[in-house]
Amino acid sequence: MALNKEQIARRIAQELQDGFYVNLGIGIPTLVANYIPEGVDVVLQSENGLLGMGPFPFEGDEDADLINAGKQTITTIPGSAFFDSAMSFGMIRAGKVHLTVLGAMEVADNGDIANWKIPGKMVKGMGGAMDLVAAAKNIIVAMQHTNPKGESKLLPKCSLPLTGVGCVKKVVTDLGVFDITPDGFRCIEYAPGVTIDEIKAKTAGRLTIADDVKEMVV
C-alpha cells in the first residue's frame, strides 16, 4: 500500500545525520521535523531568516513575528539565531546547509526539478526554491509518485519550467525511494505492499532497480 504523507516524511527523516543543518520546504517536507530520530541532533533552517526552528506554538502562544518560510506560526529552540534574507541565502549558497528537502511537481531522471509554475495557469513564484536547489549540497524531493490524473511525476524530462538543473539527489514518493544516478532513477526501496511492477508502470523516466532493493521501513 502506498505511503501516506506522514510515512514519506518519516522515511526522509532517516536521512538526517547528527550535526546536520537542514532546510525543510513547504508541505510534506515540513512534516519531517516531527520524526527526527532519537539521538540525532539537527538544526532546522528556515530561509526567511532563522536557525533553530522549533515546533508549532501552543494555542495562544502564536507570535506574528515568528513564522517559517510557509508563513506558518512557529517557535524557536534554545540556541536559535535570526538573520536577514541575504545572510540566509548566503549560508545556503556557501554550502553550510547539509540537506534540503522540498516538494516538486516533476522530477526528471537526470535530477532536474520543476515546482514553481504551470504556464498560463498557476504561478506561485519560485520563492526560495531556485536558490536552494542551485546551491544545496544534498537535495531530497518528497512528493507523490503520480499527479491527481495518475500520470507519473518521475519523468524522462520535465515538461514544466525548471526550478533547477541536475540537482536532485534522491526522491522519496508514496511508492518508494529513488536515487538519481547516471542511469536515471534507481529504486532502492519500495513501500510495504507496493510491487516493483507498479513502480515500473508509474515511472515514466529511466528506471533501474537496485540489486539489493528492499522494503522500506517506516
Binding site: 495562544g60 513575528d65 508563513k71 504561478v123 520563492g127 531556485m130 542551485a134
Partner: protein, 233 residues
C-alpha cells in the same frame, strides 16, 4: 541628527506616481502597515514595487494591487494572493519573478555599493534567459544587478530618533537589506526610543541608512497561517 517625522502620511507625502519602492516584509510578517495605509490613501499609482510577496488580497501590498496603484511587481512569490495572480496572468500587471535569495542579495548589493554580483540561482531555467552566465571554479553563475530604488519602506521593532533600527524575530527578513538600499529610506517602528537607549552592538541598520522614522500606530500584525499545537494538560 533627528530624523523623526510626524507619521506615515508625512513620511510618504513626496513619493510620486511612477516611483520605484522597496517594501520590507515576508508574507505579512514585518510589513510596513502604516506606510502602506498611507500609500493607499495617497492615491499615487504607476508604482514599481520590489517586495518578496504582495501581501494577501485584503492586506499589505494586496491593497495597493486592488487599487491598481502598482504597474510592476518585482517579487519571488505570488503565494495565495489571488488578485496578484489574476492581474499577472491577465497581463494587467507587469511581474518580474526573482529567486528569493537573488532578490535579497540584489537589495544588499545596492546598499553595499556593488553594481552586480554573480549568483547561482536560476541557472538553466527561464530566470537565466538573457542574462550573462559565467563560470567560476567549474560552476556557472548568473550576473545579477543591484536594484535602483527611489524609496525603501520598512517596519522595525525598535528605532531611535537618529534612525538606528533593530528588528524582531523573522520580521527582519528583507527589511534591513532594503533599508540600506533606498535612496530615501523610511522606517516605521513599533517603539521609537531616544538615542542612547539601543545597544550599539545590537543594531541591525545604522541610522546613516535611514532618512525618516516614526512610531507606527494600531499594528494589526495579521497572521497568514495560524498553525498551533494542542496543549496536552
Amino acid at each position: 541628527m533627528n530624523k523623526v517625522v510626524a507619521g506615515a502620511d508625512e513620511a510618504v507625502k513626496d513619493i510620486p506616481s511612477g516611483a520605484t519602492l522597496m517594501l520590507g516584509g515576508f508574507g505579512l510578517c514585518g510589513i510596513p502597515e502604516n506606510c502602506i495605509t498611507a500609500l493607499v490613501k495617497s492615491g499615487i499609482n504607476n508604482l514599481t514595487c520590489i517586495s518578496n510577496n504582495a501581501g494577501v488580497d485584503d492586506f499589505g501590498i494586496g491593497l495597493m494591487l486592488q487599487g491598481r496603484q502598482v504597474k510592476k511587481m518585482i517579487a519571488s512569490y505570488v503565494g495565495e494572493n489571488a488578485e496578484f495572480e489574476r492581474q499577472m496572468l491577465s497581463g494587467e500587471l507587469e511581474v518580474e519573478l526573482v529567486p528569493q535569495g537573488t532578490l535579497a542579495t540584489r537589495c544588499m548589493a545596492t546598499g553595499y555599493g556593488m553594481p552586480a554580483v554573480f549568483l547561482l540561482a536560476g541557472i538553466g531555467t527561464e530566470v537565466a534567459e538573457g542574462k550573462e552566465v559565467r563560470n567560476f571554479n567549474g560552476k556557472d553563475y548568473l550576473l545579477e544587478h543591484a536594484f535602483d530604488s527611489d524609496f525603501a519602506i520598512v517596519k522595525a521593532w525598535k528605532g531611535d530618533t537618529q534612525g538606528n533600527l533593530i528588528f524582531k524575530g523573522t520580521a527582519r527578513n528583507f527589511s534591513p537589506l532594503m533599508a540600506m538600499a533606498g535612496k530615501i529610506t523610511i522606517a516605521e517602528v513599533e517603539h521609537l526610543v531616544p538615542i542612547g537607549e539601543l545597544d550599539p552592538n545590537a543594531i541591525h541598520v545604522p541610522g546613516i541608512y535611514v532618512h525618516r522614522i516614526f512610531e507606527g500606530k494600531n499594528y494589526e500584525k495579521r497572521i497568514e497561517q495560524r498553525t498551533v499545537r494542542k496543549k496536552i494538560s
